[in-house]
Symmetry: C2
Subunit: 223 residues, 2 copies
């Protein structure tokens, strides 16, 4: 059921749209972590006044994408290696919960969908198609989180993933880690298909922890 154009405009206020746009600008890397955000410049760019811009930025402050310093303005949030580790740990806990809930609640059709994700990634790994793998991998994780049917969890988790993109503002996955990561996917899927919540919790948590370790192994300044 798709909403009509007018419905969308009704449900989306200007600052809400702005939020998505500014988010896009930041996550695209145009504004780098640590950069100061000039309100006037943004207002000019979108052809509106500073009021809605500030509202959108205040909202993004709460969700951890920007930081406000009184009288100095908004800055794109910068994540240190330690902070990124912290976020990864929280993400691991939440993803574990998502796996557990999914194991409890998944439907037969869900299991079929899950299997097709795994098969598609199998193919991508076999043909060393990194681009496809990253794309499917992303959808796979979204599927798991959405399948937990817990709006609070989904919101928090997605917020953390956005925050992590601020760390080094670059890809969170490297080609070399593709196979190792996918082996974990198999263990996760097995637990879900077996509808084993405890095992799903463990495998899903471990998957994010491993991703953290793989990423941190590539940086030198980890204290």
């Amino acid at each position: 059921m798709t909403l009509s154009a007018v419905e969308i405009l009704r449900s989306q206020s200007l600052p809400m749209v702005l939020e998505q746009e500014i988010e896009r600008v930041i996550l695209s890397g145009e504004f780098a972590p640590g950069d100061r955000i000039n309100e006037k410049e943004l207002a000019l760019r979108f052809g509106i006044s500073r009021g809605p811009i500030r509202e959108a930025l205040r909202s993004m402050d709460s969700s951890g994408l920007v930081e406000q310093v009184p009288n100095r303005g908004f800055f794109v949030r910068q994540l240190s290696a330690e902070q990124a580790c912290d976020v990864y740990d929280v993400r691991a806990a939440l993803f574990g919960l998502a796996g557990k809930l999914l194991a409890e609640r998944i439907t037969e059709e869900g299991i079929e969908k899950l299997k097709s994700f795994i098969a598609d990634m199998d193919a991508a790994v076999a043909s060393d198609d990194f681009e496809s793998y990253v794309k499917i991998n992303f959808e796979f994780h979204e599927f798991i989180v959405a399948g937990g049917r817990n709006a609070s969890l989904a919101q928090q988790y997605l917020g953390l993933v956005k925050q992590l993109r601020l760390y080094r503002a670059r890809s969170l996955m490297h080609r070399e880690s593709m196979q190792a990561s996918h082996i974990e996917h198999h263990a996760m899927a097995e637990a879900i298909i077996a509808r084993d919540p405890a095992r799903a919790l463990a495998t899903h948590t471990r998957h994010v922890e491993a991703a953290k370790e793989r990423l941190m192994a590539t940086v030198t300044d980890l204290k």
Copy 2:
């Protein structure tokens, strides 16, 4: 090390202070869940214009305390029983992580502090002093979360606790559950003192899950 008055004023902007004030008004129950928030009224109350009020509300929207409906304004967020359960599940996962981290990182002095919390609550339970128990219990939980030394975790966790106060806007703990709750505290403390992360994870997660079940047992409309 306490900040000087001028330091505090430097670090706190008007909308930031407003946020705390409005939060206080909401959590105190003066504005009930579902109530519409009149911007003009708040502006008049604090003697300022609507701009900073709106900024503060936008921020609170992101953290889940209010909801904005385009052209209709801000409403105090209302949590259904199902939504409260969802939040509890997320909180349980985060608190489990806090326990795990604390078990890994707690100092000797931390362990002494932990023991004194337990002793104080033992005394409160023994003398059936519910008021004291609630107060110490709150500080005990804050201590655990802070001890995890993970800012992201602490922020998310505290946000969820605030959200839960919107459910029935009333006490999340009843006198009858004091003893049951405290038995769990002992198990948690044992795991921490033993510096056993896995057991800490399990006992802390279970503690919040049990709190959820105790609360939900008192309401009838749980689907």
